[in-house]
Symmetry: C2
Subunit: 361 residues, 2 copies
């Protein structure tokens, strides 16, 4: 069976060279005579894997010495409550409401303090993110500013990094655009991501945490929920998701061998530009995100006719273009073109759109 | 490279037929043209996987209609606080202290109510578990009885199922003996396990929860920490560890094709009996657990000489017998012989012990 082009929003397409290595490693990891799934997390073999993963990610994200890479259980949804549980502590934080995942993060944060929401595009179905200069100053005493760097469902993305002032630190949920462009990692107090889109398989969160912030963290927490536990134990307090860490390490190696985040950003932007040009250039298609907020990762569009959208998804699937159905909360169509999507996949989609428009338009 | 015999305590050896299937599925799952790591958790392909996993586990553990199979983020350590957070609610529970993992569970539970500990073998370095008839009646108003069914570190195991009375329900942490013998699943209010020993790769917990207990659960919790969230959404509230669920499903299929838990229990007991006979029969070895409490999964023993133990581990590793070092808190030697350990591995270890005793004794 040939592999199809997989436009799923996550879990999502992974680089084929990484998959080929994983197939070998499942039987025998690096000549150990044991598979990667079977290796003790306390073994020297695995120690090399996790140390390399941390080092590669620190290089790719240009982290400074005060920042630590963490591999945490659960996806981003677990960070939605652990972040405020550790750092909000009855104080106030600012959240930007740019999509359903932002809204979920806001809901969980409200359990732990005051949440200011100076920007929400919810009334416009989350069709945009704020632009530089559009956000008010943070209220006095704000502990952190939280935002979703890319909105998987609505198909919008911050192409800039918000600034914080005073003692506030910046927090980004980068689940769907982590490692996809030259992210300014050192600007963040905390940057986190469920790894199942651009980094690896599902079931783990990646985080970058500024170590000096741990002094401000709540100490009286269940052991597993304190970031300090995982920071002090280099993500090995309990058995981590060893296989996900292995894949993330291999993906990071693939990125370093293929131009790093600069190279990836150029390729991702070129793919997105080409696809948006097809949407804007065809008579049948409407993009769902405001142009200045358009995501390079999740391209949302529609024919404007739910039945026609449905027919498109069905026929595209039959043509080997999978996962193009929009999120149930938005409808329409969505092409997720993460790092591992080859140019050929985007070209095939554009060609299929043209054909569909000719025959059904 | 030939595969070695892997006696690691977890992550641990997995069945080779499952590994062979996983290698195929990583490239192309069931003719979908997408790998198992890349498949949407909302796809019909994955729906078949998780549904089959639930059904197979329910059959293997002989669950009743009120019991639900859950796949949860994190390992058993996450359940140590989520269990009391959901169910203790300022009340009292009984915990049996039979090992370092029991002690960790007790520590986390104390945050949420009164913890009665009527049995502890800590003063004897956790060398035994209570026997039938040895436990006092549960105090009035006890919400649940929690115990660790098999103690990975000390090498002890309950070969019986404790009884509860009144409204109390039974909770078992079966991380290291789940699916290894005919466990009476329907006796439990909650049964849980980190899956990285007998079920699959690390980074996920498996749980069986009695649905009617959810009426007694705390409702005011972070969304991800309420068992109800995951029960109501069939473990798909957020993206689960899809690959671990796939492996667990394949392991459950392998069990069903190989005599189920009855067959596995017979084979595991026979392997353990043979190994304990070698320990008791040799002049060089001392078993660390009291005979009536000996585990069929983790066989702990020592030469009584730390340097000799160290030499044994080193020479065994060179002979293709890996992971025999005892846990750092106990020292000595440990052979973990989970479901996937072939008879040949146990035979090779026994043969190596004989040779070591002849040359070094």
């Amino acid at each position: 069976m040939a592999r199809v082009f997989n436009f799923s929003a996550g879990p999502a397409v992974l680089p084929e060279p990484v998959l080929e290595q994983a197939r070998e490693a499942i039987w025998d990891f690096a000549g150990s005579g044991m598979g990667i799934l079977e290796l003790s997390h306390r073994s020297s073999w695995f120690d090399e894997v996790i140390t390399s993963a941390e080092a590669r990610l620190a290089r790719l994200l240009k982290l400074d010495q005060d920042q630590q890479v963490l591999f945490l259980h659960g996806g981003a949804s677990t960070q939605f409550f652990t972040l405020p549980m550790n750092f909000l502590r009855g104080g106030r934080a600012t959240y930007l409401d740019t999509g359903i995942w932002s809204a979920k993060a806001i809901k969980e944060a409200k359990r732990y303090g005051t949440v200011d929401v100076p920007f929400s595009s919810k009334p416009e179905r989350y069709d945009r993110v704020p632009q530089p200069g559009e956000l008010p100053a943070l209220p006095e005493g704000t502990k952190y500013l939280h935002y979703t760097t890319n909105n998987t469902v609505a198909g919008t993305q911050f192409h800039w990094t918000p600034e914080v002032s005073g003692d506030a630190f910046l927090v980004g949920d980068a689940s769907s655009d982590i490692l996809s462009w030259p992210i300014e990692g050192s600007k963040y107090g905390m940057l986190y991501a469920g790894v199942q889109k651009n980094m690896g398989p599902s079931g783990m969160a990646f985080a970058v945490l500024r170590k000096s912030l741990l002094e401000r963290a709540e100490a009286d927490l269940p052991t597993m929920l304190a970031y300090k536990t995982h920071a002090d134990n280099s993500s090995l307090f309990n058995t981590p998701n060893t296989f996900a860490i292995y894949i993330v390490e291999r993906v990071a190696a693939w990125l370093e061998e293929n131009g790093g985040l600069e190279g990836m950003g150029q390729r991702n932007k070129a793919q997105a530009d080409k696809l948006y040009a097809a949407i804007d250039g065809g008579a049948m298609w409407t993009g769902l995100a405001k142009p200045e907020s358009r995501s390079w990762m999740n391209i949302t569009f529609t024919t404007g006719d739910a039945d026609l959208d449905k027919a498109f998804v069905k026929e595209a699937t039959a043509a080997g273009l999978n996962g193009l159905k929009g999120h149930r909360s938005v409808g329409g169509l969505r092409a997720s073109i993460y790092n591992a999507m080859p140019d050929a996949g985007v070209d095939a989609l554009i060609s299929f759109m043209g054909e569909f428009e000719r025959t059904r338009g």
